[in-house]
Amino acid sequence: MSKIKHNIIFRSLILCMIAGLFTFTCLRDGAAQTSQLFRVYSTEATGKIAETSDAIAAGKKIYEIKCYYCHGIKGDGNGSDAPRLDPKPRNFTRNEYKIRSTGQSVLPTDEDLFRIISSGVEGSAMPFWNTLTTDERWQVIYYIKTFNPEFKDKGERAPVSLGGGIASSSDSIKRGEKLFKEAKCILCHGEDGRGDGQLTTTLKKQWDLPFKARDLTQGWMFKGGNTEGDIYRTVTTGLNETPMGSYADYLTDEDRWHLSHYVKSISHGMKTDVVLKSKLLAGNLPAGPEDAVWDTLETIELPLAGQIVASPRFWTPSANSIRIKSVYNEKNIAFLVEWDDRTDEQSEVYSDAVAIQFPTKTPEGLKKPYFAMGDSSNNVELLHWRAYDESVLAAQRTDDSIETETDGGEDVEEEAGDEDAEAATEQEVENAVEETIEEFENFVTIKEMNAKGFKRLSVQPDKSQNSKGKSQWKNGKWQVMITRPLVTADKKIDVQFEKGNLIPYALAVWDGSNSEIKGQKSISSWYYLTLEMTTPNSVYIYAIIAVILAISIQLWVVARIRRFPTEIPS
C-alpha cells in the first residue's frame, strides 16, 4: 500500500513539473521575431490563361499603371525610379532574366515569370504582386514578353530537369565544400562565401557597375528562394548576363546537389531582437575582435536601411544588416560589431566605418532623442570607428612606439556641415587619453562625438576621448571591437552605462568602396542595450519564504476544511 502511495506522489510531482515547464515556456515572451521579416518564395504557377491579343492589351494597361515607374515604358529597365535602385530593374528587351528553370541563355518560361511576379525579389524593390489576380498577372507576363521578340521567335522554352535531389548530410556538405573550391566558386563568392572573392572587384557590367557576387551567408538575400532546390536551380541554370554561368555541363547532377547543400549550410537567417543583453564577465574583457570569448555570446542581427531622413538622402546602401554582441566587466563595456563587406580597400576620403549611437542621457520615459543623430533638445553620443584612421594610427604607433605625435590622418568628418568638418580636423590630436588601460593595449583611440541633429555634430575634446577600438577584416567580414569605460567623468556629453537601464542604441555603417561618406550610410532605428545583472540571493530567499508561507496557509485551510467539513445539503 505504501508503495502505491509513493508512486502517486512521484507521479503527481512529475505532472506538476511538466505543467510548470509548460507555463514557463508559455510565459517566456517573444520567441524572436525572425524570418517573418522576409518573404517566402512561392513555387505556385496556376490559373494560366490563353495568350491572346486581348490579354496582352489588358497586360499593357496594368503595366502602365503598376510597373513602368521602374521598368520603363519601353520595358528597358529605365523607368523614372531606376537611378535610385540597386539592383537595377530588369531590362525586358534583353535576355537578362536571372531566376529561370531553363538552360543558360534561354529565356524563362511563363511560369518562371509568374513565380517572380507573385513573390517579388528580396533585397530589391520588386514587390510581391500577389495583390493582382492570377489573370492579371498572366496578362502582364504576356505584355512583358512583347518587349523581347525572341520570346515569339524561339517558341516554347523547355525547362531543364530539376527533379531528383539527394538528402543533405554531413558527408554531402563536406563534398560540397570541396566542390566549392574545385569549381572555383571561391574566385567570386570568396572563401567563406561572403562574395569577397578576388575576382569580385574586377568584374564590371555596363556603366562600370560592379558585378557583386552573392553573399551566400545571408540566407534571406537569396533571390528566388533559399531552399536547397532553389540553390540547385541557380547552379544548374546560371544567371543570364552575369558571370554566374550554368554549371550543368561542368558538374554532375549529384555534385550540384552536394554544392547546394554546402551553400545552404553556410547561410544563416537573420536573428534579430529588440533588446541586446550585455553579459557580465568576471575577469578581463576580450583582447580583440578575434577573441574566442565572443563566440560564446549571443548575437543579434539588425536590418539596415539607407539614410533617408535628411538630404542628401541615400538610396543605394551597401550593407543591409549588422550583427552586434556585447560584454562588460566592472570597469568597461565592449561591443563587437560585425558586418559583411566585400572589400577592405580604404581611401582617406571614403573609408569603411561604423558608429554606435547612444543618447547622452538615458531616457527615463518614452521620449528618446530623434533616432538619426538626435535633435536640438536631445543630445546623442557617437562612438565612431573608421578603418582608414585606425590604419594611420596603427602605422604611427609602429613608427614611434613611445612618443605620440599629432595625427595628420584624421580628415573628413561625416555628417557635419563642411565648415564643422574643417574646424574639427584641426583639433584632432591623437594623444587623447593618457591613462591607457592596459587591457586594451593594441587598440587605437576612436572618435567620440556628440550630435544634436545632422547639422550639429562635434568631436569631443581630447581629454574626453575614452573609447578604443580594434578591428579585423577577414574573408569579407569586418569585425570591430569597441570598448569604453562604463562611467566617465563627462556626464554631460557621455552616456553612462548603468545596470538595470534600457539604454537605446542605434548603428550606422559606411562602405568606402560604395563611396559612402557622411550622410551616405546605412542606418538602423533605435534598439535597446541592457547590462545583464546577477541575481542577488535575496530573490531566492523571498521565493522560498513565499513557498513556505503558501504551504502553511494551504495546510491550514485543508486541515480546517477536513476538521469541519461543509455539510452537503441533500
Binding site: 521579416l37 524593390a125 533588446v275 533616432f371
Partner: protein, 262 residues
C-alpha cells in the same frame, strides 16, 4: 471499486473542473488567440496577447469560476469536498497532491519572477492620429478644383514622385513593404490599409509629409517615426502631387472635409 465510487457520493470533481477550465482559458489566450488573430486580421505574424491583458483575463477567469462554484450551497460544499480525504479514490488522491504541490510552486514562481532583476521589454506606443496643427487645418489641395486632364497629369506626376521618394520604405504598392521597411522598428505605414490614409483628410497627409517625424507634437513621442521631413527637398506643389499619386497608388480615397458652417 466502481461500486464504492458510486456509493461515495461525496466525491465531486468540481475543483478539478475549475482548475481545468482556468488552464483552458490560459491556453486559449496564450497560444490559440495569437494565431486566431493572425488569421482573422490577415497578418503574417502571430499576435501575442499583451501580458497585462493576460493577467486581467486570468483574474476574471478565476473569479468567474469561484462565483460559479459558490452560487449554491451544494456547489460550494461539493467544491470544498475535494479537499476531504480521498479514501480509496486513487485519482482524487493524485489530483489532490498535484494541487497541493502546484499552488506553492506557482506562488514561488510569481514571487521569483517579480523580484528577479531584469529589464522589462520597452513599452512603445504609437499615436496613430496626432491632432492636425492649426496652420495646416485650413490647407487645401490646389488641384482640388482643377479640370480632369490636369488632375490626371498631377496624379501621374505624383506617382512618379511617390515611386522615387516614398517607395524605398512604403513600397511600390504603397503597402508599407519597401526594401528599407524592415530596418525601421516602427514600420512604415501601409497605405492600402483602410485604417490609415483613408481616414484622414489630404491636409493631414500634407502635414505628415512636409514635417515628418521631427514635426510630430510632443505628445507623439517616443520619436520613433522615421518619416523624414520632406520640406527640405520637395516643394508644396510636389507634395500635393505626391498625395494625389499616393492615394491613387494605394487605391483609397482621402476622407472628405465636412462642410462647416461659419
Amino acid at each position: 471499486m466502481a461500486k464504492k465510487k458510486m456509493a461515495n457520493k461525496k466525491n465531486s470533481y468540481s475543483m478539478i473542473m475549475v482548475v481545468v477550465s482556468v488552464l483552458i482559458v490560459f491556453v486559449i489566450i496564450k497560444v490559440i488567440a495569437p494565431y486566431a488573430f493572425m488569421i482573422l486580421l490577415g497578418k503574417d505574424h502571430t499576435m501575442p496577447t499583451p501580458s497585462t491583458l493576460m493577467l486581467w483575463y486570468m483574474i476574471l477567469a478565476i473569479l468567474a469560476c469561484l462565483v460559479y462554484v459558490s452560487t449554491s450551497d451544494l456547489k460550494w460544499a461539493n467544491f470544498l469536498s475535494f479537499i476531504l480525504p480521498a479514501g480509496d479514490d486513487k485519482f482524487k488522491a493524485l489530483f489532490q497532491k498535484m494541487i497541493i504541490i502546484a499552488i506553492p510552486l506557482l506562488v514561488g514562481w510569481f514571487v521569483y519572477s517579480g523580484t528577479v532583476p531584469g529589464t522589462a521589454s520597452p513599452v512603445e506606443l504609437r499615436i496613430q492620429h496626432p491632432t492636425l496643427p492649426q496652420e495646416f487645418e485650413k490647407m487645401e489641395n490646389p488641384f482640388l478644383h482643377a479640370d480632369e486632364a490636369t488632375k490626371r497629369k498631377c496624379i501621374e506626376e505624383g506617382k512618379h514622385l511617390y515611386q522615387q521618394n516614398c517607395r524605398p520604405c512604403h513600397g511600390s504598392k504603397a503597402d508599407g513593404n519597401g526594401p528599407f521597411a524592415n530596418a525601421f522598428r516602427l514600420r512604415p505605414i501601409n497605405f492600402t490599409d483602410p485604417g490609415t490614409i483613408a481616414t484622414v483628410v489630404e491636409a493631414f497627409a500634407f502635414w505628415r509629409i512636409k514635417e515628418g517625424g521631427p514635426g510630430l507634437p510632443g505628445v507623439s513621442t517616443p520619436w520613433d517615426s522615421a518619416m523624414p521631413a520632406w520640406k527640405d527637398v520637395l516643394t508644396d506643389t510636389q507634395i500635393w502631387k505626391i498625395i494625389m499619386g499616393e492615394y491613387a497608388t494605394a487605391e483609397v480615397q482621402a476622407r472628405q472635409r465636412e462642410e462647416m458652417e461659419h
